[in-house]
């Protein structure tokens, strides 16, 4: 079995379903006689934590996130949210997709896109919905653009709309699937900082975030903890804490010695995971 690496790191909290999100032994095979995409993934996300999952491209990151979001069934294994095993998209989570051009609906205005997940909710009255929508749009800094069509906005603004939509849903956990991979570098920095601001503002009940990315720097800058996945079929290769001081800022955080240390370390892990384990001690993960 190839699960050695995964087992080692999960041993500490295996079976611990008290965290807000617990992923247990997830395996995915898209069709019989095809190789496994994920081979026994396990990890935990605690309340209020920002966890980044990184891994080489094609390693099954997006598959993993879709299973966690409940829109893809695992071949085996479970996802627990708030102590409950999920069997479909749970109301505690909202997912922001990389491809905002497909994820936003071009026939709806910005406002109606943000309202989309609330539109058919019977437990909220009209005023509550309007308030949530306005608040979410304000949070991402798009007040004034409510009546625009997504197609009239820049890529970065469109992704802000997608984030606002997820926030209007008021999830306990925000899932992000390579959310900034399709925007330019400067826009990306702005969006990263917006995400950190959003997190500060959300408070303890809704500031748990799980992001999938292939951008190591982004993961370090944003996350409290990083889960590194192996090459496919993916298992957890490494888990490490990011002990960067807060509040984080683009220039200072990215030149902090800790940032550079983790950066080098993750590169190492991703490049030569198995060799590194045998031949090279390296800094120990602190998770």
């Amino acid at each position: 079995m190839r699960r050695r690496a995964g087992e080692r790191h999960v041993a500490g909290d295996g079976g611990d379903r008290t965290g807000i999100l617990h992923v247990e032994e997830l395996r995915k095979r898209y069709a019989p006689d095809t190789p496994l995409v994920c081979d026994g993934l396990s990890f935990n996300v605690n309340q209020g934590e920002f966890v980044a999952i990184i891994g080489p491209s094609g390693c099954g990151k997006s598959t993993l996130l879709r299973m966690i979001a409940g829109i893809l069934s695992p071949t085996s294994g479970d996802v627990w949210v708030g102590g409950r095993r999920i069997d479909g998209p749970p109301p505690e989570m909202a997912l922001v997709f990389q491809d905002y051009t497909r994820s936003l609906y071009p026939w709806l205005t910005v406002e109606r896109n943000v309202r989309f997940p609330l539109a058919k909710r019977r437990d909220l009255d009209k005023a509550e919905k309007a308030e949530r929508v306005a608040e979410a749009i304000r949070t991402v800094g798009l007040t004034g653009f409510e009546k625009y069509s997504p197609g009239q906005l820049s890529g970065g603004m469109q992704q802000r709309v997608a984030i606002a939509r997820a926030l209007a849903f008021q999830p306990q956990i925000l899932l992000l699937d390579e959310p900034f991979a399709s925007v330019d570098a400067l826009t990306k920095e702005g969006l990263e900082d917006t995400l950190l601001d959003v997190r500060d503002r959300l408070g303890a009940s809704g500031n748990t975030m799980l992001m999938v990315t292939h951008d190591i720097d982004e993961a370090i800058y944003l996350a409290d903890r990083i889960v590194v996945l192996s090459k496919p079929p993916c298992v957890v290769a490494e888990e490490l804490s990011v002990d960067l001081p807060v509040p984080r800022t683009q220039v200072e955080s990215r030149s902090h010695p800790e940032f550079l240390r983790i950066r080098a370390y993750v590169h190492d892990v991703m490049g030569l995971t198995d060799q590194r384990r045998r031949t090279h001690g390296g800094p120990q993960p602190s998770a």
């Binding site: 479909g88 109301p91 491809d99 497909r102 609906y105 989309f116 069509s149 849903f169």
Partner: protein, 284 residues
């Protein structure tokens, strides 16, 4: 989402192109008012007028000015106008029935694989059958008259709308569907709130194609069945060797076609407004 069978040419042409995120400005002629184009058309008329006045002297090629005056006098007598009314009414009914049935059935086929597999063989057999081949059958069944005309228009215009709706519903991007599902929207909700609106651009393209097919059909059936309308008018004038009036009828048909394409294009820009950018880029 994969399209296993070879899509029709119409469907490919009509498939929603990727929407370019708002870079193209809303430019371009809005209602096709095109001074240069009209000037050229007018110039062409003048050239034909000069040619028919000098070189071409056949009795069967009247001068545009003669056709124009024939058109005006026929309009005054009301004969050509009642033909126009019949033609337009049959056209609208036929296209309306085709659009209604095509969208409903296309959406149903798109929603259900079982339905698609069930109907596929029959559809693939009927679709390439030229609709005019069914006219004798339709006359026997429905008699000569507007019923046959409407039925033939509806039949011929049905297919592009059916297929474009089907491929539109099927071709919805996985992310669009997953987004709704991740927010807990169920199957029916995804169908009506995501798949149907996504398919709208493709449906609109189908309607645009059918709008011209329906005009071809209405004139053809009227000519063949001699059941009134502009098509019949043109044949009657031909038989009577009233060439000026015949050309006046033909001109009117051309004018209808031109106006229809203007109206359809305008409606399309209004209803599926988010597709404007891609259409300008695609240069259809």
């Amino acid at each position: 989402m994969s399209l296993t069978s070879a899509p029709t040419e119409e469907a490919v042409a009509g498939a929603p192109a990727p929407v370019a995120p708002g870079r193209a400005a809303r430019r371009g002629p809005r209602l096709g008012v095109n001074p240069r184009g009209f000037a050229f058309a007018l110039g062409l008329l003048v050239v034909i007028e000069l040619l028919t006045a000098t070189l071409v002297t056949s009795a069967y090629v009247p001068r545009p000015s003669e056709v124009g005056s024939a058109l005006l006098s026929e309009i005054g007598e009301g004969d050509i106008l009642s033909g126009l009314g019949d033609t337009l009414w049959a056209y609208l009914q036929g296209l309306g029935i085709a659009a209604g049935l095509g969208v409903i059935l296309g959406a149903a086929l798109g929603a259900s694989n079982v339905a698609y597999q069930t109907f596929r063989v029959v559809i693939e057999f009927l679709r390439p059958l030229p609709s005019v081949a069914l006219i004798p059958f339709s006359i026997l069944l429905l008699g000569v008259g507007s019923t046959t005309t409407v039925a033939m228009i509806a039949y011929a215009s049905f297919w592009p709308i059916l297929f474009n709706t089907y491929y539109g519903v099927r071709g919805v991007h996985a992310t669009s569907v997953e987004t709704a599902r991740s927010f807990g929207v169920g199957g029916l909700g995804v169908f009506f709130r995501v798949q149907i609106p996504s398919a709208a651009t493709s449906v609109a393209a189908g309607v645009r194609i059918s709008a011209s097919i329906a005009l071809i059909l209405v004139i053809t059936v009227e000519m063949l069945t001699r059941s009134g309308g502009l098509g019949h008018y043109i044949v009657r004038m031909q038989v009577a060797i009233r060439t000026e009036e015949m050309y006046a009828g033909i001109f009117l048909v051309g004018l209808i076609g031109y106006l229809i394409s203007l109206v359809v294009g305008h409606l399309e820009r209004r209803v599926v407004f988010w597709n404007v950018d891609s259409r300008e880029d695609g240069g259809r």
